[in-house]
């Protein structure tokens, strides 16, 4: 896609580096809110460790609840970042360049947030390192047949690769910041810019590495959420044990992720006046993809119900009946409407062009996707094979506080990011705009 003619190389630098200037009141206000919410979450976790996991609402038989929901949700969020930065890169989708940076950053931060929840969820969080493959004195290693260990590997790999990928992209821009910065800041930036000086040699290896990383991130992103979905699909719990879970989860992940990109970009663009770089066109394209993923999700829902009916398996059928009209029917309907019906509004041009509607819809989808995970986890566990031990799950304030804390943690990381590093890629926008030419030959 083309940017307006009057954007020159120099302008790009000045405009984007403007973001990093001394923050204003709004910024500090946001920071304050985020920090206070986060501290509540931290307090809740400390309280939980101190007095026992029982202070959370999870119980027998619903032994997994909001914590695992959050884990799946945040891993999901991460995915669209990689989609935009890596997959669209491979397809040479030009409009990705100005939004991929924030998307990729979102990925890294989302994984960091997601990584917290399995640990919070543990009955004995202080022994979380038992899940790490290391030669303990008993020489008993983890059980590699357990999907939870797959998670450990998948999520760690995903974090490292995404981080490397983000950093690769950042290198030239950090250099740009460095060249403008003064004093102490300059020292820091020179350090993390690794002495990048934009020579042909650097560019050559850089872009080829960038390509390979993108090529590796693509199968990785698919594998990660497949693995996460197998946490459920590999069990025998009715409503979990399903072959379509992997693609269904990946689609869902990207669905929620794209929504989250919108939710982040719209205010970012507004606050930092990036209208020239992040244009309506970007949002429109994102909205179109969301329609698509929304349809995939809808299809998955339909398939689940069809299979439950077609398999004639009483346990499956009971579960799906329970989801629709049972104790958690409300959550179910939130999930269906927000994830499959609401995105269809993007078929109307008005809806995908007005930032307000974009923002609202994207938030609704985020809520919907969070509830999707909750519904999948809780309803199935609440209604398993043995009717005698059917039970209910009611979250407690501790879980709610930690849930909020998770969002705060993510927001905090992102807020810091936009002030410290260029949230829009300088060099890759330059790739897109016409380089300065004299014109005579």
């Amino acid at each position: 896609m083309r940017y307006s003619k009057d954007i020159t190389y120099g302008k790009v630098n000045t405009d984007i580096l403007k973001i990093l200037e001394k923050p204003g009141k709004i910024y500090y206000f946001l920071l304050f809110i985020v920090l206070s919410v986060l501290s509540v979450g931290v307090f809740a976790w400390v309280y939980q460790i101190y007095s026992g996991i029982g202070v959370a609402g999870i119980t027998h038989p619903v032994a997994w609840g909001i914590y695992i929901t959050n884990f799946v949700f945040w891993v999901g969020i991460a995915h669209s970042g990689t989609l935009i930065s890596a997959i669209l890169y491979l397809f040479r989708v030009s409009w990705r360049n100005s939004i991929y940076r924030s998307a990729e950053a979102m990925t890294v931060f989302a994984i960091m947030t997601a990584g917290l929840f399995p640990i919070i969820h543990l009955g004995r969080s202080w022994y979380f390192y038992y899940l790490v493959p290391y030669p303990s004195q008993t020489m008993l290693w983890p059980n590699f047949r357990s999907p939870l260990i797959w998670d450990v590997f998948a999520v760690t790999t995903y974090f490292i690769i995404s981080f490397i990928f983000l950093y690769m992209g950042l290198l030239p821009d950090i250099a740009a910041v460095r060249d403008k910065a003064k004093g102490f800041k300059k020292k820091i930036y020179s350090l993390i810019s690794l002495g990048w000086s934009g020579t042909d040699r650097e560019w050559r290896h850089h872009s080829s590495a960038y390509l390979f990383l993108a090529a590796m991130a693509t199968p990785l992103v698919v594998s990660v959420h497949s693995v996460v979905s197998w946490d459920f699909a590999m069990s025998i719990v009715p409503g979990w044990h399903s072959t379509i879970f992997a693609p269904y989860f990946v689609a869902g992940a990207i669905h929620s992720g794209l929504a989250m990109v919108l939710t982040l970009l719209i205010p970012l663009r507004k606050v930092f006046k990036l209208e020239e770089y992040i244009t309506q066109k970007h949002f429109e394209n994102l909205a179109k993809i969301i329609i698509f993923t929304g349809l995939i999700v809808a299809y998955s829902y339909a398939t689940e119900f069809f299979i439950a009916w077609y398999s004639n398996n009483i346990y499956e059928q009971e579960i799906y009946k329970y989801r629709v009209i049972g104790d958690y029917a409300l959550y179910f309907w939130i999930m269906v409407i927000f994830n499959t019906i609401v995105p269809l509004l993007f078929f109307f041009k008005k809806m995908r062009t007005s930032t307000v509607s974009l923002l609202i819809i994207s938030i609704l989808i985020n809520i919907g996707m969070w509830f999707e995970r909750l519904v999948i986890i809780v309803t199935s566990l609440a209604h398993e094979y043995i009717p005698f031990s059917w039970g209910l799950y009611r979250p407690t304030w501790v879980e709610i506080a930690i849930l909020a804390g998770g969002f705060a943690f993510f927001a905090l990381l992102f807020l810091l990011f936009v002030k410290v590093l260029p949230a829009v890629s300088i060099s890759e926008i330059k790739e897109q705009i016409e380089p300065p030419r004299k014109g005579e030959s």
Partner: protein, 171 residues
């Protein structure tokens, strides 16, 4: 200590001029060029006729190592302490393949990173004296490393082909 190299640096503000200059220099038989630019440009790479980056091999080797260590870890540890779970065999390949896959990607990625660092001589402790902060903004630099006596002839070429600024670097 600054890395010093003897040569001439021409600073341009237009891509097409840079390309022309490189062409000319090459015709004149000056092979040892270093071009700095705010972004990667295929034009430049083409005229420089630089080899394809070897980073790909690092990625490949990393990947292979990853796969092997994946197998070693899963199978090795399962044998070292065989415990039956869920009536499955001690060496249950299908689940292990997932670990193998993840490690393949991980090592591949790390390999790539190493590849870049080695090939692009990163990280650098300090920048070249020939580096100009504006390169990261909108200017192009063409540095021709050559002995002192050639300075003037090259400066001529650079100036004539539209360099806005010419600097001499001597050691």
């Amino acid at each position: 200590m600054k890395r010093r190299a003897s040569g001439v640096l021409g600073i341009f503000s237009h891509l097409d001029l840079v390309v022309k200059t490189i062409k000319r220099l090459k015709e004149e038989g000056h092979q040892d060029l270093r071009v700095s630019s705010p972004a990667p440009f295929h034009e430049i790479e083409e005229v420089l006729e630089s080899r394809v980056s070897p980073v790909r091999f690092f990625a490949l080797i990393g990947g292979i190592l990853g796969a092997l260590s994946g197998f070693a870890l899963t199978i090795g540890t399962s044998i070292s302490w065989p415990l039956i779970t869920g009536g499955k065999p001690i060496i249950s390949i299908p689940p292990f393949l997932i670990i193998v896959f993840e490690l393949t990607i991980l090592f591949g990625g790390v390999g790539t990173l190493i590849g870049v660092f080695l090939n692009a001589r990163l990280p650098k402790i300090s920048l070249d004296t020939t580096y100009d902060p504006r390169f990261s903004e909108d200017l192009f630099g063409v540095f021709v490393s050559c002995p002192k006596e050639k300075f003037h002839s090259i400066a001529e070429i650079l100036k004539s082909s539209g360099a806005e600024e010419v600097r001499f670097e001597e050691d």
